[in-house]
Subunit: 192 residues, 2 copies
DNA sequence: GTTAGCATGTAAGGAGTTACATGATTTT
DNA sequence: AAAATCATGTAACTCCTTACATGCTAAC
């Protein structure tokens, strides 16, 4: 029954939350959410949309394009059940949510994520990165004999990248702590 | 016949270039080369070793462990044909060599890579990253209306990470240009 | 004595890409 | 008139992970 990645489901549902879209446009917007790198292929996107439709989370419908004589596009729209499922996904804050593959997507929908969940994800991410720092240090210590200039450069650059992300997370976390949680749901138009 | 990833072949051959190793130890060292993140599973490593052995690039042999009463380990060793194949792989400088998946591995073996190839890979990598910067700028420009605080933070952090890598590459490139190519092969113990 | 680390493998499956197939519309 | 971009999909394949299967040795 093809259990597919929750991350992609979340990304698609989250984008359709704002407005109905057709596949082609969805793919472009996914690039923003998934990171401008790693563009998703149609071979992944369309089967995913089919799946979401089968689950009753989105509906497919052919658009009539008023003025323009464009090809009829298939427009996907979030259902009520889809909104509920999105909320369920967004409420999760387990280890999977702070790994590389999902952390970016989770952050992209933070405006619709409860404040406590946001904090747990940010802190989980930070301790994940700190584990990596330890692993790199250990690795550097072990292989310091056979490392040449280039290997050292690579390790050094990797280390600094992780340290930068930790500092960034620290800022996000302290901002999260200093902003008292809004009584009910956080406003989607929360100011910078 | 299971065409497998050149990147992994390169990484394994490169590590065995230094000294014969058994699978378990190889896997740990691969972590250094492939990035301390993304550790490789045995389900990938052992079939890969089998493949390299079938191609005649490495040999498998049971080690007798002198003193210790350890379990007999299978030690893999590079053959002459394997060294040739490694050199062929290392001479490549096509677009594949500067993508995310392979760039780190290529850099890890720069000490055994000809100087012109090193330069082509570094410059290829840099222009790849500059394409990304353009893509991000375009994406930011397109979506600046619907972006909330978190999406902006994410894009900003991503942008700065790429810019940092470009600056790092600039340093590596200028160092590469200012260091006259050694007459023959570069010394493997090249000083920092 | 039991947990952690050492050590080698296989089978099944997941998540995705590439290549293919098709055709309309817009820009150069 | 050609090339780029819009638009939707499928089939085959790739690379890798997870879970399983097995057993030894070192440390707590």
């Amino acid at each position: 029954m093809a259990r597919r990645s929750d991350v992609l489901d979340l990304a698609v549902l989250g984008l359709l939350h704002d407005s109905p879209l057709h596949g082609y446009e969805l793919r472009k917007r996914l690039a923003t959410v998934l990171g401008p790198f790693r563009a998703l292929s149609y071979g992944t996107l369309y089967p995913c949309l089919k799946h979401l439709s089968d689950q009753g989370w989105i509906t497919e419908s052919a658009s009539e394009q008023a003025a323009t004589g464009r090809r009829a596009r298939i427009v996907y729209e979030l259902t009520a059940a889809g909104k509920e499922h999105f909320d369920d996904l967004v409420d999760e804050s387990g280890p999977a949510s702070w790994e590389d593959e999902s952390f970016g997507v989770r952050l992209a929908f933070f405006a619709r994520t409860p404040s406590e969940v946001r904090l747990r994800i940010l802190e989980g991410r930070r301790s994940r990165l700190e584990e990596r720092l330890d692993a790199v240090s250990a690795s550097v210590a072990r292989g310091r004999e056979r490392a040449d200039r280039y290997t050292l450069e690579l390790q050094q650059h990797g280390l600094e990248s992780v340290q930068r992300e930790v500092r960034w997370l620290n800022e996000l976390i302290s901002h999260e702590r200093n902003t008292p949680p809004s009584p009910s749901a956080p406003s989607p138009t929360e100011a910078l």
